[in-house]
Symmetry: C2
Subunit: 180 residues, 2 copies
DNA sequence: AAGAATACGGAACGTCGGTTCCGGTTGTCA
DNA sequence: TGACAACCGGAACCGACGTTCCGTATTCTT
C-alpha cells in the first residue's frame, strides 16, 4: 500500500485521491480508512521519506572524512529528489510549515545535517558563514532547478559544481551580495 | 487594470478570478472580456514582467564592466523575484513550457542574458563551463530558496554569496559532481 | 457452518473555482 | 431627447476534487 502511495507522491501533491486509489488498486474509501485526510496521507509519505533520509544522514555523522561525506550526501539528496518530486515539496514544507506532522521529522533532519555540516566546517571543507537553514533552503532550490533540465545529466553536473564550489570556503572576500 | 493584475500575480498563480476581479474593482465578466482564460491573463502578466526584465538586461548588454553588471543583475533579479512571487513561476514556466505565449519572451530573455553572460565570461568574472540554460535554472532555484527564509536579509545575503562564489571561475579543479 | 463484525469499493454529496450569460447602465448619435 | 450599442457586474452553470456513506464481500468466532 505504501508502495502505491509513493507512486502517488512522484506526481506531486496535486494528484487526486481517485488517482492514488487507482494506482494502489483500491477504492478511495480504503484510503480514508487509513488516513483521515489527504493532507495526512501526504504528510505520512513525506515523513517516511524524510525519515529514511535522516537515517542515511545519521549514518554519515561519524564518517572519517566529513567533507567528502557531506558533498556526497548533497549529491545523493539532489539526485534522489530529482526523481521523487515529492521530496522537494517535503523539503520546502519542512522549511515553511512547522505546524503539521512533518515538524518533528524536520527537527531530526535539521539536527543530523547540522552535525555533519559542523564537522565538515571544522575540516575546512565548507565555508563557515552559512547556517543549516540556509543550506537546506539552498538545497531545496537546487532541487527545483534540477527539475528544469530533466534529461541532460551533464548540465546537472555543471549546476551541482556551481553549488559545491560556492559552498567551499572562499579563498578571499570577493563580493558582497548585500543591498538595501 | 494591469496594475491590479500585478497585485494578483503577487499571490502566485493560484488566486481565484473572483479575487483578481475584486482587487481590480471590476466583475469577473470584465476580466473575461479582456482575456479569454485565466491562463491567458497569467501569461499576459508574466510576459509583461519578463519583457521589462529583458529591457533591463539589454541595457546592461554593453556595460563597461560586464562582470560587475552581471552580478548586479543577478542580485536585482533575485531581490525582485523574492517580492513578486509570480516571477518565479514565470522563470520556471520559461524553462518548462515552450508552447504558450511566454515562449517568445523567453527567447528574448535567453538571448539578452546570454550576451551579458558571454561577455562576463570573457573578462573572467564567471566560470566558462556553464550554459545559459543552467544559469537561468540555477537562478530560478535560488529564487525559490529565497522564498523560504522570508525575513532574514542577512541569511539571504549569505545564500547569494554561495551562488556568486560558485559562479566564479574555480581556482582549481576540486570536486566532481558526476555520478552514475 | 452460521452469524457477526470488520473491511472494502465506489457511488453520492458539498464545495470551490473557472467560465458563461443575462439584465442593467452609460455613452453616443441622430 | 430618445433609441441604439457597447460595456459592465455578478448571478448562474459546470466540472473537478476532497470527503462521506452505504451495500456487499470477507474473515473470524463459536
Amino acid at each position: 500500500m505504501r508502495a502505491a502511495d509513493e507512486a502517488f507522491a512522484s506526481g506531486g501533491p496535486t494528484v487526486s485521491m481517485d488517482e492514488i486509489a487507482g494506482a494502489a488498486g483500491v477504492g478511495v474509501g480504503t484510503l480514508y480508512r487509513h488516513f483521515p485526510t489527504k493532507e495526512a496521507l501526504f504528510v505520512a509519505v513525506v515523513s517516511h521519506h524524510l525519515s529514511l533520509l535522516c537515517d542515511e544522514v545519521e549514518t554519515l555523522r561519524d564518517a572519517s572524512d566529513p567533507g567528502a561525506a557531506f558533498y556526497d550526501l548533497l549529491d545523493r539528496m539532489v539526485q534522489e529528489a530529482t526523481d521523487k518530486r515529492d521530496l522537494i515539496d517535503a523539503l520546502s514544507r519542512a522549511g515553511i510549515d512547522p505546524s503539521d506532522g512533518v515538524g518533528e521529522v524536520k527537527e531530526r533532519l535539521h539536527a543530523a545535517v547540522g552535525a555533519l555540516f559542523a564537522r565538515a566546517k571544522q575540516t575546512g571543507a565548507v565555508r563557515d558563514d552559512l547556517g543549516v537553514d540556509e543550506l537546506l533552503s539552498l538545497l531545496m532550490g537546487t532541487c527545483t532547478a534540477m527539475c528544469q533540465v530533466d534529461a541532460d545529466q551533464a548540465a546537472r553536473a555543471r549546476m551541482m559544481a556551481v553549488i559545491f564550489d560556492g559552498l567551499r570556503p572562499p579563498t578571499a572576500p570577493r563580493h558582497s551580495a548585500s543591498r538595501r
